[in-house]
């Protein structure tokens, strides 16, 4: 398994998309800090950018890579290697390369310019988020047989997590505005890793004061050690659950 991961990782690192992605993140981070006089605003701007960009790229790139590597996977499976191991090494190498790219592109300038806990939390959230969306991509890839369907599904998922979910939630809140819905809203954020990471980071910044009463409730949850650990655990479970589905399907799939 180690060898497969090694070769895949080296292959991925040579991929120009990853290099461009790293460079883009790096330049964007530098740009935000250069243009925004206030570090906190830069962090919020970066949060916005990476919450859009990282899920999208993780999804589309991973799913494309899966299809491109399909023949390689078949070749590997011809060897006495377990199916679960082979797909796990694919996941792992994607994760390693994305993590590296995010750490260099986003993390390095972030920690240099703003070496505070908010930056570290932002980095952690984005890393976890890419892990989540690579897992979701693999699941989508395993479930669909042809490439165009897979990419279509991944785009749909991206739209759902980034836009649709918020829209549905807003509609729901509009209809139940008369009720004390803060705690339920908190629960609903757990159902979307993008929202969860956004709120987690926002709550560490001064922006929290803008949110009034409900902000106070979120803050109460997300600034305690316990709340933060629960949130991180939830993000981790967002990695594990789709991955389990993907593995199970891959095990039984007629390749």
């Amino acid at each position: 398994m180690g060898k497969i991961v090694k070769y895949l990782t080296i292959d991925l690192m040579k991929n120009w998309v990853m290099i461009v992605f790293t460079a883009l993140l790096f330049l964007a981070t530098l740009g935000f800090f250069a243009l925004e006089g206030q570090n906190e605003k830069a962090v919020i701007g970066l949060l916005n950018l990476s919450l859009l960009l990282v899920p999208m790229l993780s999804l589309i790139f991973s799913i494309t890579y899966y299809y491109n590597m399909y023949d390689f996977l078949l070749l590997i499976l011809a060897q006495p290697i377990k199916r679960k191991k082979s797909i796990f090494s694919l996941y792992l190498s994607l994760l390693i390369v994305f993590s590296l790219s995010i750490t260099i592109g986003l993390g390095l300038p972030l920690v240099l310019f703003n070496p505070f806990s908010t930056s570290y939390l932002l980095l952690l959230c984005i890393l976890l988020l890419s892990a989540v969306f690579i897992a979701i991509a693999l699941w989508a890839a395993v479930y669909t047989n042809d490439k165009s369907k897979g990419i279509g599904l991944s785009l749909l998922l991206w739209v759902y997590f980034v836009l649709l979910f918020d829209g549905i939630l807003l509609l729901g809140m509009y209809n139940f505005a008369e009720y004390p819905i803060e705690k339920y809203v908190l629960f609903f954020t757990f159902l979307n890793p993008v929202d969860l990471s956004r709120i987690m980071v926002l709550m560490q910044t001064q922006t929290a004061a803008l949110m009034g009463y409900s902000g106070a409730i979120f803050k109460q949850f997300f600034t305690t050690q316990q709340g933060l650990s629960i949130a991180v655990l939830l993000l981790v479970s967002w990695v594990v659950v789709p991955l389990m589905f993907a593995f199970n399907k891959f095990k039984k799939k007629d390749l």
């Binding site: 206030q38 505005a177 004061a209 009034g212």
Partner: protein, 423 residues
Amino acid sequence: MGQVETKKNAEALSMIKFQTLLLLFCLQFGALFSKSRTVESSSVRNLQSVFDEAESGDTLLLKGLFKVSLLKVNKPLFIIGKDAEFVSKDGDEILVIASDSVLVKNIVFKDVEASFLKDRAAIRLLEVQQVQVDNNQFINTFFGVYVQNSSNCIISNNTLQGKAGDEVHAGNAIHIWKAERIEVINNVAEGHRDGIYFEFVNQSFISGNISKNNMRYGLHFMFSNYDIYENNQFENNGSGVAVMFSKHIRMLNNTFKENWGGASYGILLKEISDGVMKHNRFELNTVGVYAEGANRIQIDSNVFVRNGKALDIKGNCMDNKILNNNFLGNTFEVLTNSKGNLNFFEGNYWGQYSGYDLNKDGVGDVPHRPVNLFALITDKIPAASMLLHSPLVHGLDMAERIFPQLIPEQLIDKKPQMKPLNL
């Protein structure tokens, strides 16, 4: 009507200036004819008797540490310290001034204890006129200077340092209740409940003060008309500055800074009318200006920088003019809770303006709608604030500005500036 009021305002100002000159003149002139006496703490057992035996207009030069309380000044005296320190003997008030024309200068006041029965103050001005409290230091004195039913007094160059831990055990640094023509100039107030407190104070002048790190308000202003405050700095107070139930207030060149928190604002304008706010700077406040029932106020040439909400102007505000201000880097520029608009916005620079200027006259060709849809939504549904900075919200906001449905259609700036105004 407006003109009459302006004239009245101007008259009030010149009145204040005249009174001040007169007061200063009297104080200086009086000093020429009176006796001067040095009082050392080591040689005096009872300071009260020294005060009682002195003649009107005498100058007492005090030296050393005095442990006193409820010291009463019954006649015009010049009490000047030379390294003098007044420490409250039993935690009660230190100096009670019950006579006109008194000067208290260069003295350090210390350790007045908090009380729940009485508003104890280091210096109390009790129904007097022409008193000046100048260049003193107040350390841990519950209430610093307490002016009660007095007129034509000056409180200047004092430093007031409170050690209040919470709002309940704290007094106000400069507390003025029922007074006329008072000048509060160049004081520094810190660590009290309210930095400067005005109640029923007319035709007064607050200038050059620094009020910071107070529990509640930097400046608390109620039922006070025809006052002017300028060049003050209000920083990091519990809830900023409150100006309430007052008329004809002029607020010029003040700085409101770093009042950040769930219930904080730079300045609260509640039930006030016919005021002028010019050349003020609002920086890093949760809400820059919070206006409720404010009428006919001219908000002109101010700078709003990096506030959460720059201007929260409620539906019961009427005929306010918001002109030529700079709004830079605020999360929300204007917030209101009404679909209509009874105020007038023009010629401001808005950081969030995205229009163009084809004829290059410096004024944007498309009007700007400063109200943010999301600010309105969260105002109605607080729980929706969890979607702050969500891409969906940004999208909705953009669409709403182009085709307004929910945001007040008339709340527009028809002449948005393309570049920040030079303020």
